[in-house]
Symmetry: none
Subunit: 208 residues, 4 copies
Amino acid sequence: MAADNKLPRREREKLRQRQEILATALDLFSQKGYHNVSVQEIAEKSEFAIGTLYKFFQNKEDLYKALVRELCDKFEDSIMRAIEQPQDEVEKLRSYVRAKTEVFHRNLPFIRLYLAESRGASFNLKAGLDDELRKRYYNSLESIADIFASGIKNQRFKNIADPYYLAVTLSSVIDAFLLLWLDAPERHPYPEDPDAILDIFFKGLLEP
Amino acid sequence: MAADNKLPRREREKLRQRQEILATALDLFSQKGYHNVSVQEIAEKSEFAIGTLYKFFQNKEDLYKALVRELCDKFEDSIMRAIEQPQDEVEKLRSYVRAKTEVFHRNLPFIRLYLAESRGASFNLKAGLDDELRKRYYNSLESIADIFASGIKNQRFKNIADPYYLAVTLSSVIDAFLLLWLDAPERHPYPEDPDAILDIFFKGLLEP
Amino acid sequence: MAADNKLPRREREKLRQRQEILATALDLFSQKGYHNVSVQEIAEKSEFAIGTLYKFFQNKEDLYKALVRELCDKFEDSIMRAIEQPQDEVEKLRSYVRAKTEVFHRNLPFIRLYLAESRGASFNLKAGLDDELRKRYYNSLESIADIFASGIKNQRFKNIADPYYLAVTLSSVIDAFLLLWLDAPERHPYPEDPDAILDIFFKGLLEP
Amino acid sequence: MAADNKLPRREREKLRQRQEILATALDLFSQKGYHNVSVQEIAEKSEFAIGTLYKFFQNKEDLYKALVRELCDKFEDSIMRAIEQPQDEVEKLRSYVRAKTEVFHRNLPFIRLYLAESRGASFNLKAGLDDELRKRYYNSLESIADIFASGIKNQRFKNIADPYYLAVTLSSVIDAFLLLWLDAPERHPYPEDPDAILDIFFKGLLEP
DNA sequence: GATGAATGAGTATTCATTCAT
DNA sequence: GATGAATGAATACTCATTCAT
């Protein structure tokens, strides 16, 4: 679909360079945190001149934001593609859990960075970014909520709670397991079968 | 005159000042993030001289750590006290949810700060603190896991998953709801009855 | 001559305290150098309150100057007393060498301090002190020059150079030997017989 | 165009800038002493930005050390070259006195600085530098001692004292005269003929 | 268009000095 | 008179950003 390679050679070259800078920045930021990486350092490691970085990004913050947006796009794509497959609701949720797990595993350095820098109010300067990301997050919750709603409507799921609440719950539980595993893999082995997480929802806890 | 004269007046005064500084620091840190607040600024806003701050805390970092430790202690106390009441397992979980909700509501600025600064790799300087807090977190998870384990043993709960997993799940779901509510209270009204959260666990989702 | 103990008790007490402060300051200054000792530190170690120090001395610099003046007075006294004995010129010079050696050995910490801090232009703030000390030094040179002059007049010494030059020479040579010994006693053992230094002057170097 | 184009223009320019900074620093340090000069001040007076200074020198201390080393090298060279000429011992000593005098006259500001800062215990931070300089000084004394030893062996000099002692003596006497002249040129005119200093050694003082 | 040398505002921390008790 | 808590000016150093080449 994309016509990336229809771009004039110059433009394509530019894009490639931009990606290289972002990759280096991701590397450094996720190793040391935003505040402990200097623009100098990014320039050196990516083998561009400082001035060149500033051709691509207005400032350090802009570079960071671009990085986060780019990766969030990628993640969203993966996850959305997973739940857009034509399947029943249960399968969709399973796909969702699997996709999120995979994204997480494949992008550990970034996840670390993101958790470190962008949660909460740390960067009021980056409020713009935050707002945008929050919106996206809410949207993705809506997509999951839709699955629950549809499942409830189809009477595949019991109507135990608001579908949006259910989406929040599922999303947060996956995150929690992944984070624990990230912190201390030996202590918190990630469930070998990601579906195990779903079971907690699917099977009620209380004895009837 | 005062009733709280267990300590000599001088000492009490000192403590009060320390608390004032910590309160101001919390305020500023949670508004702007650790790196974007200068010691100067804390001094000015708390109406002490810079030198005075340094009488109380060795470092900017030390001040931050003291702040976090102090509050975490407080939170832990509240929550532990809640679940140590002699009640059945279901009641204990309800108490837990309520206690956490209350702590969260009462300490929004700090929660913001904590989420912003203490997760991930951002603060390699603060690794020591992080480790300590992680350990505490894991310990608190164990306490909740114990409740689930006991409930399962008593056949009050179905044995649908490892108790520790259940603890992780519950804890993370509460956090998630609270965070959403923190971000956008209108969009995400926190369930009026905190027990609603528990219901998601208690009632199975799947139709039999 | 002095009527120290005629002073009212109050005054005597004051003087004793002053001496105590100066002694502590000497100790600290000579261990760490003027700039690396805080007034706080002097106060603590001498067991006075900071405010009390400031009753005795206008400021840190004033304290330092008083210290140096006091000790220089003492040294000058010792040395002057030595050369004022009724002796012939050769004996006077010997007494001078011995007295200087003794003063040096007995006051190593101060000598170190003095060399570190007061030579040259380090403290333009302390210019006042420096000027005063220089004058004293020149005066002491004159006293030595007088001995040489008298010795030349008495034909006890050859008239090989201006007496003042001879004084400069003798004084500097003693200092040089003492300094070397101070730096590295093993490498530069101080001549066991201080008179050896004089011999270099007394015996001409060149073969006739 | 320039004749000194062994280095690429860029490098030459750099070196010139470095020298300019060092010259300004020397100026300021010798007027006010190391501790009383701020990096800010050096930057302003040398008309570079603070950051530029830090491109050339890691620290304020590093700047100071570079300054001292640079100049000591220069001095040592001059003096060593003077005594390495093929001459008899007497001439060598004369050359030594003359070379030292010249170096001193040409580098008054530095001499002032050096005397102020590098002696004694003031700079425990600068211990490394101090040690290095002391070693150099001792080495230079050995070179002079060799001249005396050779002169004694050749029976050009009487064997009145250990050659190393003689070296110490000569060196310190020159320094003393130079220092007096530095302090108060009118009161202490430096001997018009530097050889006058040597005469004090060559001619015995005592009448036979 | 690319470069990277130069810039200088910004920040944590120390310590001489004051003054209310 | 003595005290020492409180003060805040001063300073070394970093690093995002610019702009002359």
